[in-house]
Symmetry: C2
Subunit: 256 residues, 2 copies
């Protein structure tokens, strides 16, 4: 869902690397290639990057490792893309490619919920995908742009003002990206280490001074381990009913 992460502004506002008004130019209209295919194109690089991501995670996704995987030198990558930021943008868009659109005849609430579930599904499909989206910073890709469109359209159709729709869009996007980043943070530590650490963490909380931290101690179990699906559902429910009552409030105000 959402699609316009911090990333969004990222691209919009001159990336802090000081070099990118240029990045907002129209997408490369893939130049007609009269001759044989070149050894390598952007698409192949992005797909190799996605594979590398699944193998080694976000930390291991370096330009050098990617080059190695492709059997070329790191410097060669810079012929096909401006920098790592662009790679991450392309990768983010690639990750969002399998997103399915919700049925437009459903209520806006259900459409948003489905969009949220879809976005999470797509993010869970690749290792550290949420971190890629969190750091990608560019809505330039067609898939992300399409998602943004669906999300914003749904909010506008529901009756939100431009501003509210934009704000809500950010919120929904951020929630999901953040949520999945968290829930997958330890997806790749060996199971027994994770269990031991979780046990350890609970005990650590419970050993805190009870007069100072009674609530933390009482909630230690729920803080340390939780059913991700349930927790996600809770979050979506909160946002859903929050948006609902916002809409009701605005409408009531307008009818006075």
């Amino acid at each position: 869902m959402l699609v316009l992460p911090s990333a969004f502004v990222n691209l919009c506002i001159f990336t802090w690397r000081e070099k990118s008004l240029m990045k907002l130019q129209a997408p490369k209209h893939s130049a007609p290639r009269p001759q044989a295919e070149p050894a390598l194109n952007q698409k192949q690089i992005v797909q190799a990057a996605l594979q590398l991501l699944d193998e080694v995670g976000f930390e291991g996704l370096t330009m050098r490792n990617l080059a190695k995987k492709l059997g070329i030198k790191a410097a060669s990558l810079y012929w096909h893309m401006r920098d790592k930021e662009e790679l991450l943008s392309l990768l983010a868009d690639e990750i969002c490619e399998p997103m399915r659109e919700p049925d437009r005849t459903l209520s806006w609430q259900d459409q948003l919920e489905i969009l949220g579930n879809e976005f999470r599904r797509v993010l869970l499909a690749h290792r550290d995908a949420a971190r890629v989206l969190a750091s990608s910073g560019a809505p330039s890709g067609p898939n992300i742009l399409r998602l943004t469109e669906i999300l914003l359209r749904t909010l506008l159709d529901a009756g939100f003002s431009s501003k509210d729709a934009a704000y809500a869009g950010f919120m929904l996007n951020d929630f999901i990206v953040m949520f999945v980043s968290e829930e997958t943070q330890f997806a790749h530590v060996p199971a027994e280490s994770a269990a031991a650490a979780s046990y350890n963490a609970k005990n650590w909380f419970k050993a805190l001074p009870p007069d100072q931290y009674p609530s933390v101690i009482a909630l230690a179990d729920d803080l340390v381990e939780s059913d991700s699906n349930e927790r996600f559902k809770f979050g979506i429910m909160i946002l859903r009913s929050g948006l609902e009552s916002c809409l009701a409030h605005r409408k009531a105000r307008n009818q006075i």
Copy 2:
């Protein structure tokens, strides 16, 4: 507010660097120093780090730069702290130090809102503070722990179950950390560059194919630039009323 970021689990669950069950040990009971003060202690390092952060931002906050600022060699830092992760944890706690507690006689909604505003205030007080909190990964510090306690206590007092309180705590924390990360992302680019880029971004959106992206185009202005205070208020309002109706729903269900 919130206080238990992804970070939270981070520490809890064995950090992915594979070396940290140990990190959950009780905090170093500062050994009684019989002699003169050593040249350097942890507190001074953390304060220097905070200063360095304000000067050069999160990117520039490296162990090597920090050492240079302190007039020592980078290797020396490892005498006072395990690694950079620990530095970030300590720094996160230092950032949260000025948090004020909301008046307990207020409604839980108002207490949460005040807690949210306070957290944002504290994060805005230092450059890239939100990024530090997002990446700190450790609730071990006393300030963060105190905040967590207040937040969870407020939620429990409001009548939320343990699970709901824990989930809501994560949500509120994540929202604020993410929000401030976003709103400050371009705080340090020269004003005229930011303005130019924003202008550029709007035009880029507006030049998209109107049949494919009508909503994105319609909302271009609101997506690219927005009043942060207003947007934050919107988010808090959504969460507030979402939590309210969750609570009402649970209570109604329990009374049947």
